[in-house]
Point group: C3
Chain length 470, copies 3
């Protein structure tokens, strides 16, 4: 007897009936607003080619590190889940992988993945029983059949999902061909890129020398001189702007910034391109490049996003076999006050600049980030990120930032995901939690309900659109 | 159509009706208790001169860094808000500044400032519509008119506010003339000082050499010798005691303490007064001075307050134009266990000594401060402070300290403010949140209601009076 | 008129009636499950000798550092509470000590001790009035009389408490005589040991040289050579296994691990046994020993527990008079990501290994530990520990770990106590809080109630039994 899959209308709302009633009313104001997805990792080729997605395992399981990391943590081999190794694609039968996933759904109890998946299963595929060992094949067949229909192609889902604009993320070495194809197509969906220069900014990346060479080819600049290297960035930022880009994004080990003199920066760059830069030089170079990017933002208006604090590739055995992004990136304590001071001291008072800072270290919300964003005109707080864009994590973000930074120094929600099918579920989670938080403020007579309704709309729609200049 | 300003009787109480009912009953026990304000930054000249406060902008907006930092963070110039620059007073028209403040009230949604202001507007000035662009002039005129009446002079408000005692904070270089005038007047209000020697203790303060010279003049001691310097402190502490002082206060970058031998301390002091002390010597000197102050407390009974952990003047551009205390002080991660060990190892078991420690780093509540205060007889926990004396911050303090330190190793509430008009609102917020926390303990059958009522009174009145020896 | 002592059936459940109803139903599933106590500090001689416990003070007050540290923090001398000094046993009259404790019960308001004690007083001794100055003698006489009856001997309580298995903790220098006696007796109670080698692993322990010598005597190995030292560990682990041991336990200042080559490890050990190892060598040796213990676990199947992060003996004056474990151990900020990388990089993917890590630094839950446990097959999260195994602490553990690690990378509850009488109260607290958390997930439609009921049973019984291989 399969168990019913129920997606309750009141999910994620506070249990207290009075507060829940307020949350319902606030949520009614934002439930149907278009999705602004200002930062994420979907693949632009989906939207340029508009080809069918493959089978359930390749669509939903194998690319989703939230899912396979949890299964791996309980001793299930990645090979058995359809995850490609460096040596080649998984040999696992997709249906067998799906059954393994289905039989271990208990591992996801209480996790955000269970909520996102329930939404996808119920709302997108119309399933009304829970996924488990007994229903694995029913699920596989239902989803597989749906994916072969036109209604489940990427552009159709994009429209069904009411996405007003979505940003992907590309390196300066990307040709942007898919973005150009989308732009030049007759499809009206708005898909923009974000400029993520980490491969040409991080001297510790194993491909850094090749990346610099390719950067030169693509731009015609001498990327081994400091002035040519900066010019190459400016050229590529202009190329990105031409496909709608309004932001850059920077994933660094720390939040460190620097404000070196031009001569110091040039000497540092010379050491970096000579190869064998010390760890301190590599860190200092990344730090200085954030300030350089901010300087370019003063000209081209790109919003500067900083995503610091992940210890990447913590598991060397897994990295050797499977490479990056396999669930072995772990947050670390991250300091912002001293780290951001050079950048903010230089450009923090610029009215035309927007710097959006994220954190994997929740202790910085109330202690460092809200006080900084509640002072500097250029600084805004990115939403709860990665390990923290969950119901509890989203609520902690509001509980710990609102009193010092208010709502208007935050920028709404980022799904930041490659899991395209769950994007509405993620935004819906954020909208529900924001309404739950606002409802608590109203119920405790800390905010009037009419004001709360305005804030709810601003968080869901107005603020991300404004902050990212979309 | 202006929106109603409603100050609900149940504000800040939990939404659950049963818990709210308990909170109401507990709050009824403490609502009308006199205010003990054992630590703050009001100006003693208000009470000695008893002159009318100036206009609404100069009274409520320009001096309140909670308010103007939020407005500044959204691109509003401090000059336009009536904030004085180093070069001279603001040229802004006070009414125009007030209108700018009024039109941006949405920025304060969900912040403690909105609650404090609502109390002042409603309870003190009798306003019953919300402040916004349309009501800006009504507000300005109403408040301005009230301030010209006798009922709104400082002493009248002090009495109306039912303040039993208030402590201001002065440097050893202060003449204490205002305190002497109050003491010698026929007014019965109790206004005491606190001894805050940072200017003569911090070698990194830009005025340190001049401060030492002035310290010598005031005391007749040789403040450039270690023994004379200590004697000068003793003299001034005696002067402060004569105007009712019962505490010293120390705002240091870190919580570091030291317990040097007399010879080591003397050599350190010699390096410090010679000028050009290293950062480490400056830090060590501040650290040693906490222990010296504790030693003096054994004699004169002053309570020792430590307020560590702010990165001061983070925004150099703003500092150059506007100076200190302009909303650019940012909390930092603060370590207490190793930092306080020299002081506590030396004096922590003294039954006659009270050290009250504060933090801007909430991670230390459960991890470091509650365990330390739950062990050392001399150590008590100061309440949630500065960025954290908000509804959420006050609640986190109780949630994270009570289980290890209990209630009786805490000292009630400090408003710690220069915003005199909102002092009752701040104490009321603290009383309501403490009652909300106690009500939850009662509702969850973790505490009997009769015991909770005793605790509520102790937190609101008995503990601060006892801890500060008032 | 004494006040009634009421142990409410709904204690620790959320106040919202709907959520409370769910919590009640979930709790009904786990209330009567046997106790699995996989890690703690009870004395095996209690169960081998089965002698009566002494008077109330010696049983309940003098050994319980949660109680006497709170009293000490308010200026009550340990001597007066029956706590033995190094110089000899307390001279305090047990009844006088008990009266002092009784008269200060207000200090425990809101602390977990008050809940544990209320359970012991009510459920074990049948008392129905609250402990205070007036009832001190009633309590003393009632408890004292009960302790003289057979029903209150250790084995009788063990059975009445429905303990399926309990683990004590012994050093490799322990003879295990009590465990052997229990094993060889006709009593069926299951009491096992845990292998805690800190005295022979920590070069900074004051008894380290003597411990190594004794370790050699007990094992017949040359404990001053690296290979002999490791062989001695293997021998003693086998001895422990023979009395049912399934785990080792390691209490280190930090979580640091190392993965040295055999030659490096041998050279390090040589420096350590030569005496006067540097602090860095001592730290590195402890770090390497965690990896060596994990290597042995691959052979003998012991679960490896790491309990890091306490600053021991913070109060030197108290330490000099009373020695260790007197409430002066204070948690410190503890880093796990870099610290555990050598161990996890080496053995983290081993399917047969279980490493259980604990923390005194709650900031690591969501930031470091849940992400690590949600990835590495060998790593599991130990429950909230020591200062944090309280209602708020247990709830924070679930709120901050569940979303990333799920429930199945945690291992249920450890009481970790020497306070035998309160063991069921501690497990009951954990069960109630887990049910409260699950009830909230159900009430917010984040988890189905049938799944929540399965999880409740797994947390209370299945997971600790499985994780500890009991």
């Amino acid at each position: 007897m399969p168990k019913p899959l129920v997606l309750h209308d009141d999910r994620l709302f506070p249990a207290d009936p009075g507060t829940r009633g307020i949350a319902r009313r606030l949520y009614a104001e934002v439930r149907d607003l278009p999705i602004i997805s200002p930062h994420g990792h979907t693949d632009p080729s989906w939207f340029s080619r508009n080809e069918p997605f493959p089978n359930p395992t390749e669509l939903l399981l194998a690319p989703d590190h939230y899912l396979f990391r949890m299964l791996y943590s309980q001793g299930i081999a990645l090979e058995d889940l359809g995850v490609a190794a460096l040596a080649g694609p998984s040999q696992a039968d997709p249906r067998a992988a799906w059954r393994l996933f289905a039989a271990n759904q208990h591992l996801f109890r209480g996790t955000p993945s269970s909520g996102w998946l329930a939404w996808v299963f119920s709302k997108v595929f119309g399933l009304d029983v829970r996924l488990d060992a007994d229903t694995a094949d029913l699920y596989y067949d239902t989803i597989d059949a749906a994916l072969r229909t036109p209604e489940f192609r990427p552009r159709a889902l994009f429209e069904r999902y009411n996405i007003e604009v979505i940003a992907t993320t590309e390196s300066p070495l990307d040709s942007l061909a898919h973005h150009e194809a989308i732009r030049d197509s007759d499809w009206s969906g708005r898909v923009v890129s974000a400029y993520r220069p980490d491969p040409v900014v991080d001297p510790e990346h194993e491909q850094f020398p090749q990346a610099l060479a390719r950067f030169a080819e693509l731009t015609g600049e001498d990327t081994h001189s400091w002035s040519g290297y900066l010019a190459a960035h400016r050229r590529r930022r202009a190329d990105f702007a031409a496909v709608g880009t309004t932001s850059s994004d920077h994933g660094h080990p720390t939040a460190r910034t620097a404000d070196l003199s031009p001569a110091e920066a040039e000497r540092l760059f010379a050491r970096v391109v000579a190869g064998g830069a010390s760890a301190e030089d590599a860190e200092l170079f990344r730090a200085q490049m954030l300030t350089e990017m901010a300087r370019m933002s003063l000209d081209d208006g790109f919003v500067l996003q900083i995503h610091p604090g992940a210890f990447r590739n913590h598991n060397p055995g897994l990295f050797a076999r499977f490479g990056r992004d396999k669930g072995a990136d772990i947050p670390t304590a991250t300091e912002y006050v001293r780290a951001l001071q050079p950048l903010l001291g230089r450009f923090g008072n610029e009215p035309g600049l927007t710097i959006i800072v994220f954190t994997l270290d929740e202790t910085s919300y109330a202690r460092e980030l809200a006080p900084l964003a509640g002072h500097y005109p250029a600084l805004k707080l990115g939403p709860a990120w990665w390990f923290h864009d969950s119901p509890e994590g989203l609520m902690r973000f509001r509980e710990q930032t609102t009193e010092t930074a208010g709502f208007y120094n935050t920028v709404g929600f980022n799904d930041d995901t490659r899991a395209f099918l769950s994007i509405p579920a993620r935004h819906d989670t954020a909208r529900r939690i924001d309404c739950a938080w606002l409802a608590r403020l109203v119920a405790e007579h800390r905010l009037d309900e009419d004001a709360a309704a305005e804030v709810a709309v601003d968080l869901a729609y107005t603020l991300p659109k404004r902050a990212y200049r979309l």
